[in-house]
Symmetry: C2
Subunit: 241 residues, 2 copies
Amino acid sequence: VAVEVQMSTQTEAPPEPRIPLTRERVLQAAVDLADRRGLKSLTMRNLAHELGVEAMSLYYHVANKEEVFDGMVDVVVGEINEVVTRIDPPAGEADWKPVVRRTILSAREVLLMHPWAPEVLETRSNLSEPTLRYFDSLCGLFRGADFSFDLIHHGMHALGSRALGFTQEMFDEGDDDVDPDAAAAMLEQMADRFPNITEMTAQITHDDDDSVTLGWCDDQTEFEFGLDLILDGLERLRGAV
Amino acid sequence: VAVEVQMSTQTEAPPEPRIPLTRERVLQAAVDLADRRGLKSLTMRNLAHELGVEAMSLYYHVANKEEVFDGMVDVVVGEINEVVTRIDPPAGEADWKPVVRRTILSAREVLLMHPWAPEVLETRSNLSEPTLRYFDSLCGLFRGADFSFDLIHHGMHALGSRALGFTQEMFDEGDDDVDPDAAAAMLEQMADRFPNITEMTAQITHDDDDSVTLGWCDDQTEFEFGLDLILDGLERLRGAV
DNA sequence: ACCTGAACACCGTTCAAGT
DNA sequence: ACCTGAACACCGTTCAAGT
């Protein structure tokens, strides 16, 4: 029909608004797909289908699937950086701890919206621009509180993946199976073989029977406990070294 | 030739010592293969080939590949338990820390011989018999030092994967690429964008120019620093709570 | 420049069949 | 009881070809 309209800088909406593929659209679609249907549903074919395109078209914008994973991490860490940037800088040298705490807990909040992210992050080399930017600003917070570089370095390692807001939960469910009741029942059945763990879980579930929400552990509480343990330890070392 | 020898309990070695497949042999072969050629080489077909058998034969001893992974973890944690069992129990209530430390560092030594293990461990539910046994004995060490169950519980979570001897190294290489020199060069090139990290690495590599062995971080040192930070924090809380 | 069809080499797994 | 051949439904990826 309209062949002669293909001239130059035409900006009206085409009859079928076929948005052209870009690297950014591919990566964002990958993140959305993983958010919605899990990492195992993220195949090149599914991803292409999501974009209304054939699988092979993706390879024009992305070298291979590894590069898709790299890009997805950048998207997520980019979101973290955006949130973290809006946090007020520490008021004084002694105020480093609450600010570092809020930074890391903000990162965690973002990650909680992308449950697949930790698994992917763990397989990356973590030297992308957004990741370096995050660690650089975290490093800056410590510097502002007069930490020695040596202590900052050790502290970053001590934090590990916790710095980005996640930790491998020791007794995580594989995907959605493993209900906590079954685990508790199994433990009870093994009371003689694992006396310490059995007694511990028994006493802990008894202690807070008013606030038991999901299983025996509140992940957020445990995360903050570990985080504070490390931050308090660093604070103690700051003057001593 | 010898058809009539198929009688009953015949124990002489057969002419071709075709060892029959067992679940244990399959799992041990899987561990060996992953040790030798990496996790990505561990396919059902490769594993079968290693055992001189067709791929489909494996399914008689193992339900699927997930069960192979589960079994491999049990083999490795079994090795850890064997080493840990030989550690002397703490002499007194105050001696808990060196014993816990040695336990965890022993676990780490075993894991260092199975580089694929962390990645697989992170995707398991960690409720197998050997894993529970390990955590139960760790829990017992804390109990022996009069820790409250609540503090033990929080402490286990704070340790996280460190309890089993590993942590996701933040800037780990993917498999074998990423040489540290290239990373340093890249950082130098980005000195303006990441001033804190740049200055930190510059100073740290300058500090210990006598003992720089591999890149800027000694993983063992960092692991022990983080471990001690947490153990010291727990010690401080033990009396206070 | 951007997208596609057909094809390749590989997966894990099923199932009926062999001994 | 233990192992296998053939086949299925899926991968990621290449490559020559289309517009």
